[in-house]
């Protein structure tokens, strides 16, 4: 995969925006990074040093209720022609906004430092959110039945030990030595 040349990092409140900007700059030193922030927000000198361009948008433009401003904002996002569009929460709203900006790749860099890919198609984003909730509820029901209901699924103990066939004679000697060490001390000892 070729490294992205144009990266957009979309600001969200209640998350460490500076950390994402620093990480984006470290990961892609040659890319052109655009920070999309609300006009009420300012970047510190350290944050500004990580980005090449700052796009400050009117907070009102974030809301689809104000149709004209919102469409203007979307047009501005599309004009950025992002190869990589980074949002900070894996939410339906941000997913739809990111997909509507038509980037080549849309990802969430979440608060637990995970990279979560998001589909680039608006319809797929909406479907993914719906499927996730339905599957999640079904999964919860199955588990709830198992934990609150009778224990009908009795399972044997977990075994992560190495299959016997794969143990070499040398390793077997080593394990025998360990077994001797593992024997509990006798009362006389």
């Amino acid at each position: 995969m070729t490294p992205p040349e144009r990266i957009v990092v979309f600001y969200s409140a209640d998350a460490d925006y500076a950390a994402r900007l620093r990480a984006a700059r470290r990961a892609f030193p040659d890319a052109r990074i655009t920070a999309v922030i609300p006009a009420t927000q300012t970047l510190s000198d350290g944050e500004r040093a990580c980005v090449d361009h700052v796009h400050a948008a009117e907070p009102a433009a974030y809301s689809p209720v104000r149709v004209r401003r919102f469409l203007g904002f979307l047009r501005a996002l599309r004009a950025m022609r992002a190869d990589l569009f980074i949002v900070m929460f894996d939410s339906l709203r941000l997913g739809l906004l990111g997909a509507a900006a038509r980037p080549r790749r849309l990802v969430c860099w979440d608060g637990e430092m995970r990279i979560i890919p998001i589909p680039r198609c608006v319809l797929l984003v909406a479907t993914r959110a719906a499927v996730r909730v339905v599957v999640g509820h079904l999964r919860w029901l199955v588990r709830a039945a198992r934990i609150y209901g009778p224990d009908l699924w009795h399972q044997p103990p977990l075994d992560h030990s190495r299959p016997e066939g794969k143990v070499s004679p040398r390793e077997r000697r080593f394990l025998n030595r360990l077994d001797r060490l593992r024997r509990p001390p006798t009362p006389d000892a």
Binding site: A13, D16, A27, R114, R132, V133, H137, D179, R182
Partner: protein, 410 residues
């Protein structure tokens, strides 16, 4: 002796006390003349890059790489088993880990094991805090297993239903930690270790009888990183700095209690500032400053600028390394009377204690220190002397580990 250290949450620089504790433990045991090697996972699905670089560590370490798909108990257990087997240790020392730790311990059960429990992860499979409904939880997995599994399941239900997992919610689900089988594995792995090391008496008493040997070993500080404190600058008009460090955005750490106490104090005096290291925004107040998230070195800089350190945890803080670090920096500590904190903060000697969550009592304690710079200096000096005597890493290792390692192999 060859000792393999296994930690599922290791990261360097350290994001918390557990990682720093393991780092200094490994260094100390290496200094005793043992062969040591750290095995810890790194994840390629994290945007903040790998959790540690072996070249940054003064001891040999092997990062085990996991993709999101392989971040499951069985592949993880197999990867650790294969890596540790290839190194052929005499002993395994297990550090921090959450839902996958029992799986990894089970995979390494051919070796004598010592297991370090930093929080209450050997008792509580909900969020490892043993803290529920604003008090210490009376249940634990050894005495009330089914109730604990149901409690943990309720805790992670939101993740399950929404399908949007936090890291630990995902671990809970993938480890199938709600099942009786997990409960059996959990009890079996704790029972199988030669020695369990915990931080305080609460953590110790609950598993006595379920584990052959349980010991309380305190954490320490590297005194070389904390030179003897210089006298605090006394410029006219300088405000006294009250500092809270650590993960202040975690509600269990009690930042809101400190802010409430600060609000009370700000009504009657303006000679102080409260600095809090929070990754999230704080309410706007003239006397309140968000010092932002800091790494280890950054926190030491903050200690040099502070006059009083507050540890307002509302839960039973297992150890409270921050209090020990602040004492090493020569600062008086105001801490809640919870968990392991009173073990280090001696009321009236190295600091002051208050009831967890009681902002009024905290305000009173702070006022008494704000009024009396001589008392601050006296407590700071007493704290430093106590850390030099009790919490220097070299001394802790010498006092506890040679005998412990001998006995584990006997």
């Amino acid at each position: 002796m060859r000792i393999a250290f296994v930690d599922l949450l290791f990261s360097w620089p350290p994001p918390g006390g557990a990682q720093a504790d393991l780092y200094y433990t490994i260094r100390g045991i290496q200094a005793l003349g043992h062969d040591v090697h750290l095995f810890a996972p790194c994840y390629d699905f994290k945007w903040a890059f790998n959790a540690f670089d072996p070249d940054d560590l003064p001891f040999p370490a092997t990062p085990l790489w996991f993709t999101n798909a392989a971040y499951r108990p069985a592949p993880m257990a197999r990867a650790f088993r294969d890596a540790v087997d290839a190194w052929r240790p005499d002993l395994v020392f297990a550090g921090f880990g959450r839902y996958y730790k029992p799986h990894v311990l089970a995979a390494l059960n051919r070796y004598p094991q010592i297991s370090r429990y930093y929080m209450y992860e050997h008792l509580c499979i909900r969020d490892f805090s043993l803290y529920k409904a604003a008090e210490t939880c009376p249940n634990d997995i050894f005495h009330t297993g089914p109730a604990c599994r149901r409690c943990a399941f309720a805790c992670w239900s939101r993740d399950l239903r929404s399908g949007k997992f936090t890291t630990y919610g995902l671990e809970f689900d993938r480890a199938r930690a709600w099942t009786p089988r997990y409960e059996r594995l959990f009890r079996q792995t704790v029972g199988n270790v030669r020695t369990a090391i915990v931080n305080n008496d609460l953590a110790k008493t609950r598993i006595e009888g379920f584990c052959p040997d349980v010991r309380c070993i305190p954490g320490g500080v590297d005194l070389a990183a904390y030179p003897p404190p210089a006298p605090r600058p006394d410029a006219p008009g300088r405000k006294t700095v009250i500092l809270m460090v650590g993960r202040a955005d975690d509600p269990l750490k009690g930042a809101d209690v400190l802010i409430e106490a600060g609000l009370g104090l700000s009504g009657v005096r303006d000679d102080f500032e409260v600095w809090i290291t929070s990754a999230e925004p704080l309410p706007e107040n003239a006397w309140l400053r968000n010092a932002g998230w800091r790494d280890h070195a950054g926190i030491r800089d903050l200690y040099h600028q502070a006059d009083i350190v507050v540890v307002p945890s509302v839960w039973d803080e297992p150890y409270g390394l921050v209090a020990v670090e602040a004492m090493a920096a020569g600062l008086p500590v105001v801490a809640s009377r919870a968990g392991g904190l009173p073990m280090n903060v001696r009321h009236g000697e190295t600091g002051l204690l208050f009831a967890p969550g009681d902002s009024a009592e905290l305000a009173l304690r702070l006022a008494s220190l704000l009024d009396d710079p001589a008392l601050r200096a006296r407590m700071g000096a007493a704290g430093r002397a106590r850390v030099e005597a009790e919490n220097d890493w070299a001394a802790i290792i010498q006092r506890h580990y040679p005998a412990l390692l001998e006995e584990a192999l006997r």
